[in-house]
Symmetry: C2
Subunit: 245 residues, 2 copies
């Protein structure tokens, strides 16, 4: 085997190794980032829609605060219908011409599309997570589980992390501020939005976060080393312990 | 007429005045901002698409640098087709499963939609501008004209501005830095992207920008006071004067 043959064989093997390095972790992290970016685009365009349509029907803009509902109303109902429903007495907006109405409602349609795609990505993420790490995503909830996974880099690394690191994943800024300047130490990272913590008074949160992270760490190990499904037992334990009142 | 009658009459009159204050300037400025925001959303999501799809077909990601073309290829061709066209020898990406393909191509479709809507808003802006300020938008070009108009606030204000202000609209930061710290004075604001300036060597740009702003100011006055159409004459004059070589 001469040099050029050997070179092309090694190149092929490298390419194969690169292609095999792609794991569900990457799909999960990409989907999670897509969901965040779709939300931010949808909100930017929804604010623009409010600003624009608000010149022609300020009454509607003030009545509906939810972006998605607002966009759906503009797509589904004509300007004349909306005016007759929401305006009482003298209208405060300018007259919307029919060509302008086409432009504004195409923007509203785009906003709805972005919200819809975001929702379908959330379902997709749920499906991927529940087949890849059922214990972990059941206990943490899909979005928090995906954030933790993407923060750790992979399920493998997550399973190797001590529970105190899982507790603080996502609070790196506060942690390093604590280490450098001696400020208050953070008590929770991404898990702060977990329903168990949301229902706990602030004074108890450090304790609950520690227990939750402990069980999450067990779940990650169960998932990575293909153990049985125990997340529901852990969840019930935690709820019994902390939500008794 | 008692007090409450008078109050409701005054309220109605105020509402009427508010509704009459809406002018095409507002539509132009909203459309312009929508175009910018649509472009920024399309780019964010296109980068995410590249990142994601690139794990499965890095060869395509490297071959196609245009976001829109890239997204269209993913929407129009199946993963198998793309692989057979772009991969030579051992593939470097992972295998894309069919459920993953659905998710990625729905993101690609969204990117295309955003680009398409942006394009249709550009046409819409052109139509609005050419009926509202034909002279000004012909000489400046639709996008620059819209930026100047939105920077000035209204066509009325634009028609009242001295040409030196029009020359520097959009360069406020550099102008105030010049005034405060004595740095270099800016020579052009939004008009820097005008084709006449793009074709001029840097040493001549101040001179050309001054002449262009001068004629733009005339155009704005012609448009606001409903004068005749003279932008083509001015444009030919400027081109004869500065593009002779």
């Amino acid at each position: 085997m001469d040099f050029s043959q050997q070179r092309s064989k090694l190149l092929d093997e490298t390419k194969k190794a690169v292609s095999e390095a792609v794991s569900p972790d990457i799909v999960i992290s990409q989907t999670l980032h897509s969901i965040d970016e779709l939300a931010s685009c949808a909100n930017t365009l929804a604010k623009r829609l409010r600003d624009w349509h608000g010149y022609f029907l300020p009454e509607l803009e003030r009545a509906i605060s939810d972006h998605e509902v607002y966009a759906r109303l503009i797509v589904e109902k004509s300007y004349a219908e909306l005016t007759s429903t929401y305006v009482v007495g003298q209208p405060m907006g300018a007259e919307l011409s029919s060509t302008d109405e086409v432009a504004v409602s195409s923007l509203a349609r785009q906003v709805l599309e972005l919200f819809r795609l975001r929702q379908s990505f959330i379902h997709y993420l749920e499906a991927v997570m529940s087949s890849y790490c059922k214990n972990f995503s059941t206990l943490a909830g899909t979005t928090i589980a995906a954030r933790l996974l993407s923060g750790a880099g992979s399920l493998r690394r997550l399973a190797m992390l001590p529970s105190s690191t899982i507790q603080l994943l996502g609070a790196e800024k506060a942690l390093f501020r604590h280490i450098k300047t001696g400020g208050k130490s953070p008590k929770h990272g991404f898990i702060i939005s977990h329903q168990l913590l949301a229902q706990t008074p602030a004074s108890q949160r450090g304790k609950v976060a520690r227990s939750l992270a402990d069980k999450l760490s067990l779940c990650a190990k169960l998932d990575f080393f293909s153990g049985e499904f125990k997340a529901d037992v852990y969840k019930a334990d935690l709820e019994r312990k902390f939500l008794k009142k």
